[in-house]
């Protein structure tokens, strides 16, 4: 009996020392998970997740403080990717966000704009140009379509318009996308 206790005590101490050494030798700084999540997020900086931007949400996710299904623009696809990274259970998205929307950008109706600069302050990527009392303009290819500027406009002059299809960005449709597999 005493041998058993001694042997197992010895083993435990031995392994404890080994693991203790390893934890010092192989110390890892930082949380690589947040970076990884940040890469997956759509970077619209829309704040619809309740965090002030994509990075804060990623940090919160990495620390296990947030749900996986908060990213509305990312939709189900991003949610699944997040759950794969974090190892959390995938959760259903809100109904509105389950289908990814076609990409839209904000367009300011320049006749209506009163130049209040409210939208400029709101834009998370500095994609709106303009000055007080002057008409504002959205830099189209920098707009992430976060829609943050839409509610703040006092005269409702901002519209979300789907990106126009031209011969340059036209995509070949997938063959038989309609029939065959009803995925």
């Amino acid at each position: 009996m005493i041998e058993a206790i001694l042997i197992f005590l010895g083993l435990a101490v031995l392994f404890g020392i080994l693991l203790g050494y390893a934890s010092i030798r192989f110390k890892v700084e930082g949380n690589p998970m947040a970076d990884q999540i940040d890469k997956v997020l759509p970077q619209t900086q829309c704040g619809q997740c309740g965090y002030p931007g994509c990075r804060p949400y990623a940090d919160a996710l990495a620390n296990g403080e947030a749900e996986v299904n908060l990213c509305i623009p990312g939709g189900t696809e991003v949610m699944i990717e997040i759950s794969e990274i974090t190892g959390l259970e995938p959760k259903a998205m809100d109904e509105a966000a389950s289908e990814p929307k076609p990409k839209e950008t904000a367009i300011i109706d320049e006749d209506l704009c009163i130049g209040c600069v409210l939208c400029i302050k709101e834009c998370p990527v500095d994609a709106i140009l303009g000055a007080t009392k002057m008409m504002h303009t959205v830099i189209q290819q920098e707009c992430t379509g976060c829609e943050k500027c839409v509610p703040v406009c006092p005269v409702d002059c901002i519209d979300m318009i789907p990106v126009e299809v031209t011969t340059k960005n036209w995509k070949w449709p997938e063959p038989n996308a309609d029939k065959e597999k009803g995925k």
Partner: protein
């Protein structure tokens, strides 16, 4: 060699696949060529249709700018549209009138494009006279002595690759002579049905050879090799005859599809396998289609722009297929009607051959520079698509050695990263795989779909990265501004304290200080500033109105420089790479915004009076100053922002600053952030200018709306050298920025250069 080929021919009788051993690239197919349908017919006389449709948007590059108006009478060869930007970078070519007539409309029409989308086009109603302007390009008929001279002619003639890709020919040619050692002539018209190159070689062999010789001369190329498929004996004979006594070698190549592919024919003719992603220039070889060479000859010798081309009108649905020298813009339906269709043309025509062409969305689409064939094949019953049985026939047929069935497998499962890894971008979309597929899977369409998806994924990834950077930058800026504001508030409080104590003592002393104090607190509450200013005497404004206007000029100059640099950024891209449309757009947008801002500025000036009233401030002067100052501030900020954007991740310190501004505002200079200082200076300047304006040129300001620059000029004749210095500094800065940007641009371009 001969023995071997005869043995192979013998084997091929038993096993058709043995024919594949005869050529140097993998695979290939042997479709029914049906070339005799149109090749046996003589070239028909040109028809002048009721109307010509000339789309502005070309295969690649930017949309050129229209130079005519609706109702204009034009003559043949007259310039109708021209690239607005530096054409050497815009990758688009001018559009010329194919015949004389009237411009009846400029409106969107369906394009000859697989998408069937619409875009702007010039509609020309021919008058039937066919009056032309001779030598519209103004050439003297001599051979251009440098690649640049040749490129200029090719650009003005609007010549693009006529084999199919439609890439502007001038853009394929390197700027220095001697870069190309071998010039290749592509006479391997491998698509079934098409015979236009065949007939061109038969009838205009001399022109083609001359065109090649001209090009070789200008580029300093030593060898000229022409590859013609063995199924065009008449063309071979004509070309051999025309090439005798010249350095042009005529090589007969095997008849196999896709022998006419650029890389395939290059390998066959020279034994050089072009590395993927490499351009012709990289291996010192340049290949062009026979029709392109003929067009070069006509442009260089006679100054004729490219306004017509030989087109094959063929197909099983036509009774009398033919070839014709067709004017650009002729609707397909008009040409098909000429060939007396067997039944009503209620099925879509195909532009190009059956292997690589596409069905047009509307049979009235016009002939464009890349239209080599109009095919009318009545629809056949489609075999049902079966699942892929991985038989590997597609792999055996693929001329690029890809694994089509694996690419298909992943494409249909939407695993696009794997498709990309299988080198889908090396696919030339020749259609061999679909042709042999026993399961009748539209493989090529899967790859096209996958390619556009992958491209979008990449673009999105880039956009995400950009958005992230911009957001992070914004956060940093907000943080910085917050800190600075606090610091400034503190400084200002002290200043105000001092000031109040001083102002009671001597008014003369304060003339300078309040200005600087106010400038430092440019972002602080307006009321406070107004209060501070009311204390200062009126003379301040008058006194400073000369110096600040110079500063204001500096801002203007900086703004303009920024604008210019933005424009140049797009323009100065390396010409062999396709320009990022986005950039040019953004430049245009920014320019537009500048204009808009100026207009708005003017407007704001105009509405000063009513604002004043509503604001109900005691001193109208002060309020005026404020309005103008605010707007100027915003403008300066915008300029600064743009500058910041350009510099982006680069370190901020390197940015040099106008020494004037720095010395003038020692307080702000100490803050360390030079850009900030510049902004500060600009703001101060603007404020002073506004003050000056409000006193000196109220009336002129109120009148100007569209041309405020001129108004500004009138008031800024003073302190010339200061302005010069400021402008010099601004220019330097702009140049620096430009260089940086260009470097970045080039980097990114190299990375994302289209592998095709």
């Amino acid at each position: 060699m001969n023995l071997l080929s005869s043995v192979i021919k013998l084997v091929a009788k038993f096993n058709p696949a043995a024919k594949r051993w005869m050529h140097s690239f993998n695979g290939g197919v042997f479709p029914k060529y049906n070339k005799s349908l149109s090749a046996s017919q003589p070239i028909r006389k040109q028809i002048i249709p009721e109307r010509l449709i000339l789309p502005l948007q070309q295969q690649v590059g930017l949309t050129p700018e229209v130079k005519v108006q609706v109702g204009d009478k034009v003559k043949k060869n007259q310039l109708l549209a021209q690239p607005s930007k530096d054409p050497f970078k815009a990758l688009s070519v001018p559009v010329h009138a194919p015949t004389s007539g009237t411009i009846v409309a400029i409106e969107p029409v369906t394009l000859p494009h697989p998408s069937g989308l619409q875009d702007q086009a010039i509609i020309l109603e021919p008058d039937g006279q066919d009056e032309s302007i001779d030598n519209v390009l103004g050439v003297d008929g001599s051979i251009p002595d440098s690649p640049l001279a040749l490129k200029a002619i090719l650009l003005n003639a609007g010549i693009v690759g006529m084999g199919g890709a439609g890439f502007p020919t001038y853009a394929k040619i390197p700027n220095q002579a001697g870069k190309i050692h071998t010039l290749l002539i592509n006479g391997a018209e491998c698509e079934p049905f098409i015979t236009c190159d065949d007939l061109l070689m038969q009838t205009q062999a001399g022109d083609i050879i001359q065109g090649a010789l001209i090009t070789a001369e200008a580029l300093g190329a030593e060898r000229i090799i022409c590859g013609i498929e063995s199924n065009k004996p008449a063309a071979i004979k004509a070309m051999k005859q025309a090439a005798s006594n010249t350095k042009v070698e005529i090589k007969v190549v095997e008849t196999v599809y896709p022998m006419g592919g650029q890389k395939q024919l290059t390998l066959e003719l020279t034994g050089v396998e072009m590395p993927h992603k490499a351009h012709a220039v990289d291996v010192g070889m340049l290949m062009m289609n026979v029709a392109t060479y003929a067009a070069i000859y006509h442009a260089v010798k006679f100054g004729e722009p490219l306004t017509s081309r030989l087109v094959t009108v063929s197909g099983l649905g036509l009774k009398q297929p033919y070839n014709m020298n067709v004017m650009m813009g002729t609707p397909f339906s008009a040409l098909a009607r000429e060939a007396s269709p067997k039944s009503e043309l209620n099925y879509p025509l195909v532009m190009g051959g059956p292997m690589m062409g596409f069905k047009v969305a509307n049979n009235d689409v016009p002939v464009i520079k890349t239209t080599n064939c109009i095919l009318a094949n009545p629809p056949e019953p489609v075999e049902m698509q079966m699942p892929c049985i991985r038989c590997g026939d597609c792999m055996d047929a693929c001329p690029v050695n890809l694994l089509p069935q694996q690419m298909y497998w992943h494409s249909q499962a939407h695993e696009f990263d794997k498709v990309e890894k299988l080198n889908v971008f090396d696919c030339i979309e020749c259609g061999c795989c679909s042709y042999v597929c026993p399961s009748h899977i539209p493989l090529v369409q899967y790859y096209r779909h996958a390619k556009s998806e992958i491209k979008e994924i990449h673009a999105e990834r880039e956009a995400v990265e950009l958005a992230k950077q911009r957001h992070e930058f914004r956060l940093a800026r907000i943080e910085r501004e917050k800190q600075e504001r606090e610091a400034r508030l503190k400084a200002k409080k002290e200043a105000v304290k001092k000031q109040t104590s001083k102002s009671s003592e001597a008014t003369a002393d304060t003339t300078k200080k309040p200005a600087s104090a106010a400038a430092a607190a440019a972002k602080a509450a307006a009321a406070k500033r107004a209060a501070a200013k009311t204390k200062t005497s009126q003379s301040e404004g008058q006194e400073t109105n000369k110096v600040p206007s110079a500063r204001m000029k500096a801002i203007e100059a900086a703004k303009q420089a920024a604008q210019k640099s933005a424009a140049e950024k797009t323009a100065s891209q390396p010409e062999e790479s396709k320009p990022k449309q986005a950039d040019t757009k953004s430049a245009a947008k920014q320019a537009a915004m500048m204009a808009a801002k100026k207009r708005a500025q003017a407007k704001a000036q105009k509405s000063e009076e009513p604002t004043d009233l509503t604001q109900k401030t005691a001193e109208t002067d002060a309020s005026k100053k404020e309005d103008a100052r605010k707007s100027a501030m915003q403008a300066a900020k915008a300029a600064a922002k743009k500058r910041a954007e350009a510099a982006k991740t680069k370190n901020k310190e390197t940015e040099s600053l106008s020494p004037d501004a720095a010395t003038e505002k020692p307080e702000t200079d100490s803050s360390g952030d030079k850009r900030k200082a510049a902004m500060e200076a600009a703001k101060a300047a603007a404020k002073k200018r506004a003050a000056a304006k409000s006193q000196n040129s109220d009336k002129t300001e109120e009148q100007i709306k569209p041309v405020d620059t001129s108004a500004e000029q009138t008031e800024t004749d003073t302190s010339v050298d200061k302005r010069k210095a400021a402008m010099e500094a601004a220019r330097k800065r702009a140049a620096e920025r430009k260089a940086k940007q260009q470097a970045e641009k080039q980097d990114s371009d190299e990375q994302q250069e289209n592998p095709q």
